[in-house]
Protein backbone atom coordinates (compact mmCIF):
# COMPACT_ATOMS: atom_id res chain seq x y z
CA UNK A 1 0.00 0.00 0.00
CA UNK A 2 1.05 3.56 -0.64
CA UNK A 3 0.93 6.39 1.86
CA UNK A 4 0.71 4.14 4.87
CA UNK A 5 2.09 6.89 7.06
CA UNK A 6 -0.42 9.42 5.85
CA UNK A 7 -3.27 7.01 6.43
CA UNK A 8 -2.22 6.37 9.99
CA UNK A 9 -1.73 10.06 10.69
CA UNK A 10 -5.20 10.69 9.34
CA UNK A 11 -6.65 7.92 11.45
CA UNK A 12 -4.91 9.23 14.52
CA UNK A 13 -6.33 12.70 13.94
CA UNK A 14 -9.79 11.21 13.55
CA UNK A 15 -9.56 9.20 16.76
CA UNK A 16 -8.28 12.18 18.73
CA UNK A 17 -11.01 14.39 17.30
CA UNK A 18 -13.71 11.86 18.10
CA UNK A 19 -12.46 11.29 21.61
CA UNK A 20 -12.08 15.01 22.24
CA UNK A 21 -15.87 15.38 22.05
CA UNK A 22 -16.23 12.84 24.83
CA UNK A 23 -13.51 14.53 26.78
CA UNK A 24 -15.15 17.90 26.30
CA UNK A 25 -18.44 16.60 27.59
CA UNK A 26 -16.73 15.08 30.60
CA UNK A 27 -14.81 18.22 31.43
CA UNK A 28 -17.56 20.83 31.10
CA UNK A 29 -21.23 20.98 31.92
CA UNK A 30 -23.19 21.60 35.04
CA UNK A 31 -22.22 18.85 37.39
CA UNK A 32 -24.93 19.88 39.82
CA UNK A 33 -27.68 18.34 37.78
CA UNK A 34 -26.10 14.91 37.85
CA UNK A 35 -26.27 12.01 40.22
CA UNK A 36 -23.16 10.34 41.53
CA UNK A 37 -23.33 7.71 38.79
CA UNK A 38 -23.12 10.43 36.13
CA UNK A 39 -26.78 10.19 35.01
CA UNK A 40 -28.94 13.29 35.05
CA UNK A 41 -30.78 13.95 38.25
CA UNK A 42 -33.92 15.98 37.69
CA UNK A 43 -35.08 17.63 40.87
CA UNK A 44 -38.39 16.28 42.19
CA UNK A 45 -40.82 18.90 43.44
CA UNK A 46 -40.89 19.39 47.17
CA UNK A 47 -44.10 18.51 48.94
CA UNK A 48 -45.45 16.23 46.22
CA UNK A 49 -44.72 12.55 46.57
CA UNK A 50 -46.30 11.00 43.48
CA UNK A 51 -46.93 11.99 39.88
CA UNK A 52 -49.96 11.07 37.75
CA UNK A 53 -48.28 7.77 36.84
CA UNK A 54 -45.52 5.70 38.36
CA UNK A 55 -42.03 7.17 38.08
CA UNK A 56 -40.77 4.45 35.74
CA UNK A 57 -43.59 5.21 33.27
CA UNK A 58 -43.09 8.94 33.52
CA UNK A 59 -39.37 8.60 32.89
CA UNK A 60 -39.82 6.76 29.63
CA UNK A 61 -43.24 7.81 28.37
CA UNK A 62 -44.20 11.25 29.68
CA UNK A 63 -44.23 12.53 26.11
CA UNK A 64 -46.75 9.90 25.13
CA UNK A 65 -48.96 10.95 28.01
CA UNK A 66 -48.59 14.62 27.10
CA UNK A 67 -49.61 13.95 23.50
CA UNK A 68 -52.60 11.95 24.74
CA UNK A 69 -53.63 14.75 27.08
CA UNK A 70 -53.18 17.27 24.28
CA UNK A 71 -55.52 15.38 21.98
CA UNK A 72 -58.05 14.72 24.71
CA UNK A 73 -58.16 18.31 25.91
CA UNK A 74 -58.09 20.16 22.60
CA UNK A 75 -59.79 17.75 20.26
CA UNK A 76 -62.16 15.80 22.48
CA UNK A 77 -62.87 18.45 25.09
CA UNK A 78 -62.04 16.05 27.92
CA UNK A 79 -60.77 18.62 30.36
CA UNK A 80 -61.57 16.79 33.61
CA UNK A 81 -58.90 16.76 36.34
CA UNK A 82 -56.63 13.77 36.70
CA UNK A 83 -55.73 12.11 39.96
CA UNK A 84 -52.11 11.53 40.87
CA UNK A 85 -50.96 8.23 42.30
CA UNK A 86 -50.89 10.00 45.62
CA UNK A 87 -54.51 11.13 45.32
CA UNK A 88 -54.00 14.80 44.43
CA UNK A 89 -56.10 16.30 41.65
CA UNK A 90 -54.25 18.15 38.90
CA UNK A 91 -55.24 19.87 35.69
CA UNK A 92 -54.64 17.96 32.46
CA UNK A 93 -52.23 20.55 31.20
CA UNK A 94 -48.51 20.92 30.74
CA UNK A 95 -48.46 24.55 31.72
CA UNK A 96 -51.12 24.56 34.41
CA UNK A 97 -50.82 20.92 35.47
CA UNK A 98 -47.31 19.46 35.32
CA UNK A 99 -45.56 22.73 35.88
CA UNK A 100 -47.69 23.58 38.92
CA UNK A 101 -45.75 20.94 40.86
CA UNK A 102 -42.57 20.88 38.81
CA UNK A 103 -41.95 24.57 39.29
CA UNK A 104 -38.51 24.66 37.70
CA UNK A 105 -38.14 23.73 34.05
CA UNK A 106 -34.38 24.20 34.32
CA UNK A 107 -33.99 21.75 37.18
CA UNK A 108 -36.56 19.26 36.01
CA UNK A 109 -37.22 19.13 32.27
CA UNK A 110 -33.94 20.50 31.00
CA UNK A 111 -31.65 18.22 32.98
CA UNK A 112 -32.68 15.09 31.12
CA UNK A 113 -33.46 16.79 27.84
CA UNK A 114 -30.02 18.33 27.70
CA UNK A 115 -28.39 15.05 28.67
CA UNK A 116 -30.33 13.22 25.96
CA UNK A 117 -29.89 16.12 23.56
CA UNK A 118 -33.59 16.35 22.75
CA UNK A 119 -35.22 19.67 22.03
CA UNK A 120 -38.97 19.28 22.48
CA UNK A 121 -40.94 22.03 20.76
CA UNK A 122 -43.28 22.40 23.77
CA UNK A 123 -41.55 25.59 24.80
CA UNK A 124 -42.09 27.32 21.49
CA UNK A 125 -45.60 28.02 22.76
CA UNK A 126 -45.93 26.83 26.33
CA UNK A 127 -44.50 29.07 28.98
CA UNK A 128 -42.19 27.72 31.63
CA UNK A 129 -42.71 29.01 35.15
CA UNK A 130 -40.64 32.06 35.96
CA UNK A 131 -37.48 30.70 37.49
CA UNK A 132 -37.01 32.21 40.93
CA UNK A 133 -33.46 32.82 42.12
CA UNK A 134 -33.96 29.95 44.54
CA UNK A 135 -35.01 27.50 41.87
CA UNK A 136 -32.14 28.51 39.59
CA UNK A 137 -29.59 28.14 42.33
CA UNK A 138 -27.98 24.78 42.59
CA UNK A 139 -28.46 23.14 45.92
Amino acid sequence: MYDKVKVFIGLAIFVVAALSIVGYNMSVGDKDGFRTDGKPGPEKPAGHEKCVKETAYMQTSHMVLLNKWRDEVIREGKRELVETVGGEMVEKSLQNGCLSCHVSKIKFCDRCHEYANVKPYCWDCHLAPVETPASKEAH
Partner: protein
Protein backbone atom coordinates in the same frame (compact mmCIF):
# COMPACT_ATOMS: atom_id res chain seq x y z
CA UNK B 1 -80.84 16.02 3.50
CA UNK B 2 -77.54 17.29 4.79
CA UNK B 3 -76.96 13.98 6.43
CA UNK B 4 -77.28 11.95 3.27
CA UNK B 5 -74.99 14.33 1.48
CA UNK B 6 -72.40 14.08 4.19
CA UNK B 7 -72.57 10.30 4.11
CA UNK B 8 -72.15 10.36 0.38
CA UNK B 9 -69.16 12.67 0.61
CA UNK B 10 -67.59 10.42 3.20
CA UNK B 11 -68.12 7.45 0.93
CA UNK B 12 -66.63 9.41 -1.95
CA UNK B 13 -63.64 10.23 0.24
CA UNK B 14 -63.12 6.59 1.07
CA UNK B 15 -63.31 5.63 -2.56
CA UNK B 16 -60.64 8.19 -3.29
CA UNK B 17 -58.47 6.81 -0.56
CA UNK B 18 -58.78 3.48 -2.29
CA UNK B 19 -57.04 5.08 -5.21
CA UNK B 20 -59.71 6.00 -7.72
CA UNK B 21 -58.87 9.02 -9.85
CA UNK B 22 -59.61 12.24 -8.06
CA UNK B 23 -61.32 13.86 -11.01
CA UNK B 24 -64.08 11.34 -10.86
CA UNK B 25 -64.54 11.95 -7.17
CA UNK B 26 -64.46 15.67 -7.64
CA UNK B 27 -67.18 15.59 -10.23
CA UNK B 28 -69.26 13.13 -8.21
CA UNK B 29 -68.95 15.20 -5.09
CA UNK B 30 -70.01 18.25 -7.03
CA UNK B 31 -72.89 16.45 -8.63
CA UNK B 32 -74.10 15.18 -5.30
CA UNK B 33 -74.17 18.72 -3.96
CA UNK B 34 -76.80 19.84 -6.41
CA UNK B 35 -79.78 17.56 -5.72
CA UNK B 36 -79.06 17.35 -2.01
CA UNK B 37 -79.42 21.08 -1.60
CA UNK B 38 -82.99 21.09 -2.79
CA UNK B 39 -83.77 24.75 -2.30
CA UNK B 40 -80.22 25.97 -2.66
CA UNK B 41 -78.77 27.59 0.41
CA UNK B 42 -77.03 30.20 -1.67
CA UNK B 43 -79.92 32.18 -3.02
CA UNK B 44 -81.78 34.46 -0.69
CA UNK B 45 -81.34 32.16 2.25
CA UNK B 46 -81.01 34.65 5.13
CA UNK B 47 -84.32 33.53 6.57
CA UNK B 48 -83.38 29.88 6.48
CA UNK B 49 -80.08 30.40 8.21
CA UNK B 50 -81.45 31.18 11.66
CA UNK B 51 -81.56 28.50 14.29
CA UNK B 52 -80.09 25.78 12.18
CA UNK B 53 -82.31 26.26 9.15
CA UNK B 54 -83.03 23.72 6.42
CA UNK B 55 -84.99 21.52 8.80
CA UNK B 56 -81.85 20.28 10.47
CA UNK B 57 -82.51 18.31 13.59
CA UNK B 58 -80.80 20.21 16.37
CA UNK B 59 -78.52 17.69 17.98
CA UNK B 60 -75.85 18.15 20.56
CA UNK B 61 -74.63 21.43 21.91
CA UNK B 62 -74.18 24.44 19.68
CA UNK B 63 -72.58 27.27 21.52
CA UNK B 64 -73.55 30.72 20.31
CA UNK B 65 -73.24 34.38 21.24
CA UNK B 66 -75.79 37.13 20.75
CA UNK B 67 -74.23 40.57 20.55
CA UNK B 68 -76.41 43.56 21.39
CA UNK B 69 -74.71 46.21 19.27
CA UNK B 70 -76.82 48.99 20.77
CA UNK B 71 -75.33 48.38 24.21
CA UNK B 72 -71.86 48.65 22.76
CA UNK B 73 -72.85 51.85 21.00
CA UNK B 74 -74.12 53.28 24.30
CA UNK B 75 -70.90 52.35 26.07
CA UNK B 76 -68.01 53.65 24.02
CA UNK B 77 -64.81 51.74 24.68
CA UNK B 78 -66.61 48.60 25.79
CA UNK B 79 -65.62 46.64 22.71
CA UNK B 80 -61.99 47.61 23.29
CA UNK B 81 -62.27 46.32 26.84
CA UNK B 82 -63.55 42.98 25.52
CA UNK B 83 -60.69 42.83 23.06
CA UNK B 84 -58.23 43.66 25.81
CA UNK B 85 -59.67 40.94 28.04
CA UNK B 86 -59.37 38.38 25.27
CA UNK B 87 -56.03 39.35 23.81
CA UNK B 88 -54.20 39.82 27.09
CA UNK B 89 -55.35 36.49 28.47
CA UNK B 90 -54.65 34.57 25.30
CA UNK B 91 -51.21 36.14 24.76
CA UNK B 92 -52.24 37.63 21.43
CA UNK B 93 -49.28 39.67 20.17
CA UNK B 94 -49.49 43.25 18.94
CA UNK B 95 -47.06 43.85 16.08
CA UNK B 96 -48.17 47.41 15.55
CA UNK B 97 -48.74 47.01 11.81
CA UNK B 98 -51.63 45.68 9.72
CA UNK B 99 -49.45 43.30 7.69
CA UNK B 100 -48.48 41.06 10.62
CA UNK B 101 -51.64 41.77 12.61
CA UNK B 102 -53.14 39.04 14.77
CA UNK B 103 -56.58 39.50 16.26
CA UNK B 104 -59.22 37.23 17.76
CA UNK B 105 -61.89 39.83 18.34
CA UNK B 106 -62.03 43.36 16.92
CA UNK B 107 -64.36 46.04 15.64
CA UNK B 108 -65.13 47.49 12.26
CA UNK B 109 -67.82 49.63 10.66
CA UNK B 110 -71.24 48.18 9.85
CA UNK B 111 -70.51 48.31 6.12
CA UNK B 112 -67.42 46.13 6.63
CA UNK B 113 -68.89 43.66 9.07
CA UNK B 114 -72.12 43.34 7.10
CA UNK B 115 -71.22 44.21 3.50
CA UNK B 116 -74.29 42.40 2.18
CA UNK B 117 -76.62 44.26 4.52
CA UNK B 118 -75.13 47.59 3.64
CA UNK B 119 -76.87 50.13 1.46
CA UNK B 120 -76.72 53.78 0.51
CA UNK B 121 -79.29 55.25 2.87
CA UNK B 122 -78.35 53.82 6.23
CA UNK B 123 -79.31 55.81 9.30
CA UNK B 124 -76.56 57.82 10.97
CA UNK B 125 -76.40 55.59 14.01
CA UNK B 126 -75.67 52.47 11.98
CA UNK B 127 -73.20 54.24 9.74
CA UNK B 128 -71.10 55.47 12.64
CA UNK B 129 -71.35 52.38 14.80
CA UNK B 130 -68.38 50.12 15.52
CA UNK B 131 -69.44 46.49 15.48
CA UNK B 132 -67.67 43.57 17.10
CA UNK B 133 -66.36 40.94 14.74
CA UNK B 134 -64.93 37.56 15.67
CA UNK B 135 -64.91 33.96 14.54
CA UNK B 136 -68.48 32.93 13.77
CA UNK B 137 -68.02 29.32 14.85
CA UNK B 138 -70.07 28.35 11.83
CA UNK B 139 -72.11 25.21 11.77
CA UNK B 140 -70.73 24.56 8.27
CA UNK B 141 -67.27 26.01 8.61
CA UNK B 142 -65.46 26.37 5.24
CA UNK B 143 -62.14 26.58 7.09
CA UNK B 144 -62.62 23.11 8.56
CA UNK B 145 -63.50 21.77 5.14
CA UNK B 146 -60.33 23.29 3.68
CA UNK B 147 -57.84 22.22 6.35
CA UNK B 148 -55.62 19.40 5.03
CA UNK B 149 -54.55 18.12 8.48
CA UNK B 150 -57.66 18.58 10.65
CA UNK B 151 -55.68 21.13 12.61
CA UNK B 152 -58.86 23.16 12.62
CA UNK B 153 -62.00 21.26 13.50
CA UNK B 154 -65.40 21.53 15.18
CA UNK B 155 -65.56 20.35 18.76
CA UNK B 156 -68.52 18.69 20.45
CA UNK B 157 -69.81 22.05 21.69
CA UNK B 158 -69.97 23.49 18.20
CA UNK B 159 -66.89 25.65 18.57
CA UNK B 160 -64.40 25.76 15.70
CA UNK B 161 -61.07 24.97 17.30
CA UNK B 162 -57.42 25.23 16.35
CA UNK B 163 -54.86 22.57 17.19
CA UNK B 164 -51.68 24.62 16.96
CA UNK B 165 -49.56 21.50 17.33
CA UNK B 166 -50.81 20.16 14.05
CA UNK B 167 -51.11 23.26 11.86
CA UNK B 168 -48.65 23.26 8.94
CA UNK B 169 -49.30 26.91 8.12
CA UNK B 170 -50.67 26.44 4.59
CA UNK B 171 -53.25 29.19 5.22
CA UNK B 172 -55.90 27.46 3.13
CA UNK B 173 -58.30 28.12 6.03
CA UNK B 174 -57.61 31.84 5.77
CA UNK B 175 -58.52 31.80 2.10
CA UNK B 176 -61.62 29.80 2.95
CA UNK B 177 -62.93 31.92 5.84
CA UNK B 178 -65.48 34.43 4.52
CA UNK B 179 -65.26 36.51 7.69
CA UNK B 180 -61.56 37.36 7.95
CA UNK B 181 -61.52 35.74 11.37
CA UNK B 182 -58.17 34.03 11.04
CA UNK B 183 -54.68 35.37 11.61
CA UNK B 184 -51.31 33.92 10.78
CA UNK B 185 -48.10 34.16 12.77
CA UNK B 186 -46.00 35.72 10.05
CA UNK B 187 -43.16 36.05 12.55
CA UNK B 188 -42.43 34.88 16.05
CA UNK B 189 -45.01 36.31 18.48
CA UNK B 190 -42.39 36.07 21.23
CA UNK B 191 -40.09 38.54 19.50
CA UNK B 192 -39.45 42.18 20.21
CA UNK B 193 -39.77 45.24 17.98
CA UNK B 194 -36.95 47.56 16.99
CA UNK B 195 -37.13 49.40 20.30
CA UNK B 196 -36.90 46.12 22.16
CA UNK B 197 -40.56 46.22 23.13
CA UNK B 198 -42.04 42.69 23.23
CA UNK B 199 -44.98 41.97 20.93
CA UNK B 200 -46.77 40.29 23.82
CA UNK B 201 -46.62 43.02 26.38
CA UNK B 202 -47.21 40.90 29.43
CA UNK B 203 -47.17 37.14 29.09
CA UNK B 204 -50.02 35.40 30.82
CA UNK B 205 -48.38 32.36 32.42
CA UNK B 206 -51.72 30.51 32.50
CA UNK B 207 -51.99 30.33 28.69
CA UNK B 208 -49.53 29.38 25.94
CA UNK B 209 -48.41 31.74 23.23
CA UNK B 210 -48.19 30.54 19.65
CA UNK B 211 -45.15 29.90 17.48
CA UNK B 212 -44.47 31.43 14.10
CA UNK B 213 -45.94 29.71 11.10
CA UNK B 214 -49.31 28.68 12.52
CA UNK B 215 -52.80 30.11 12.11
CA UNK B 216 -54.78 31.25 15.13
CA UNK B 217 -58.19 32.61 15.98
CA UNK B 218 -60.90 32.81 18.64
CA UNK B 219 -61.57 29.45 20.31
CA UNK B 220 -64.82 30.55 21.95
CA UNK B 221 -62.90 30.15 25.24
CA UNK B 222 -63.48 26.41 25.18
CA UNK B 223 -61.15 26.12 28.18
CA UNK B 224 -63.62 28.30 30.15
CA UNK B 225 -66.96 27.16 28.80
CA UNK B 226 -66.15 23.58 29.76
CA UNK B 227 -66.03 24.81 33.35
CA UNK B 228 -69.38 26.56 32.95
CA UNK B 229 -67.86 30.00 32.60
CA UNK B 230 -68.77 32.51 29.89
CA UNK B 231 -66.17 33.38 27.26
CA UNK B 232 -63.90 36.22 28.38
CA UNK B 233 -65.37 38.78 26.01
CA UNK B 234 -68.89 37.99 27.21
CA UNK B 235 -67.86 38.20 30.83
CA UNK B 236 -66.08 41.50 30.28
CA UNK B 237 -68.94 43.04 28.30
CA UNK B 238 -71.52 42.14 30.92
CA UNK B 239 -69.48 43.74 33.69
CA UNK B 240 -70.25 47.13 32.18
CA UNK B 241 -73.53 46.58 30.37
CA UNK B 242 -75.72 43.68 31.39
CA UNK B 243 -76.58 41.42 28.46
CA UNK B 244 -74.39 43.27 25.97
CA UNK B 245 -73.24 39.79 24.97
CA UNK B 246 -75.13 36.63 25.77
CA UNK B 247 -73.55 33.21 25.53
CA UNK B 248 -75.34 29.88 25.53
CA UNK B 249 -76.47 26.73 23.78
CA UNK B 250 -78.50 27.39 20.69
CA UNK B 251 -79.94 23.90 20.70
CA UNK B 252 -81.22 24.16 24.25
CA UNK B 253 -84.75 25.60 23.91
CA UNK B 254 -84.64 27.06 27.38
CA UNK B 255 -81.24 28.71 27.16
CA UNK B 256 -81.08 32.47 27.29
CA UNK B 257 -79.73 32.73 23.75
CA UNK B 258 -82.41 30.48 22.32
CA UNK B 259 -85.16 32.48 24.01
CA UNK B 260 -83.62 35.76 22.94
CA UNK B 261 -83.34 34.63 19.33
CA UNK B 262 -87.03 33.71 19.36
CA UNK B 263 -88.07 37.08 20.71
CA UNK B 264 -85.72 39.52 18.97
CA UNK B 265 -84.85 40.22 15.36
CA UNK B 266 -81.19 39.39 14.85
CA UNK B 267 -78.87 39.21 11.88
CA UNK B 268 -75.86 37.09 11.02
CA UNK B 269 -72.84 37.87 8.87
CA UNK B 270 -73.14 36.71 5.25
CA UNK B 271 -75.92 34.17 5.83
CA UNK B 272 -76.26 33.61 2.09
CA UNK B 273 -73.01 31.62 2.11
CA UNK B 274 -74.66 28.76 3.97
CA UNK B 275 -72.05 28.67 6.71
CA UNK B 276 -74.66 29.15 9.46
CA UNK B 277 -72.76 31.43 11.82
CA UNK B 278 -73.25 31.04 15.57
CA UNK B 279 -72.72 34.72 16.30
CA UNK B 280 -75.93 36.77 16.13
CA UNK B 281 -76.31 40.52 16.20
CA UNK B 282 -79.12 42.66 17.58
CA UNK B 283 -78.77 45.90 15.64
Amino acid sequence: MDNTRRKFLKLAGLTAAAGVGATVIGSKAMASGAPAHGAPAGHGAPAAAHGGGHGDVATGVRQAIVIDTGKFNDNPGLAEKCQQACHSYHNVPDFGNPKDEIKWIWTDKFANVFPEHSHYKKDDRISSMDIIAMCNHCENPPCVRACPTQATFKNADGAVMMDFHRCIGCRFCMAACPYGARSFNWRSPRGVDKEGHPFIEKMNPKFPSRMRGVVEKCSLCSWRTKKGLDPLCVEEANKTAADAMIFGDLNDKDSKVAKLLRSKFTIQRKPALGTKPSIFYII
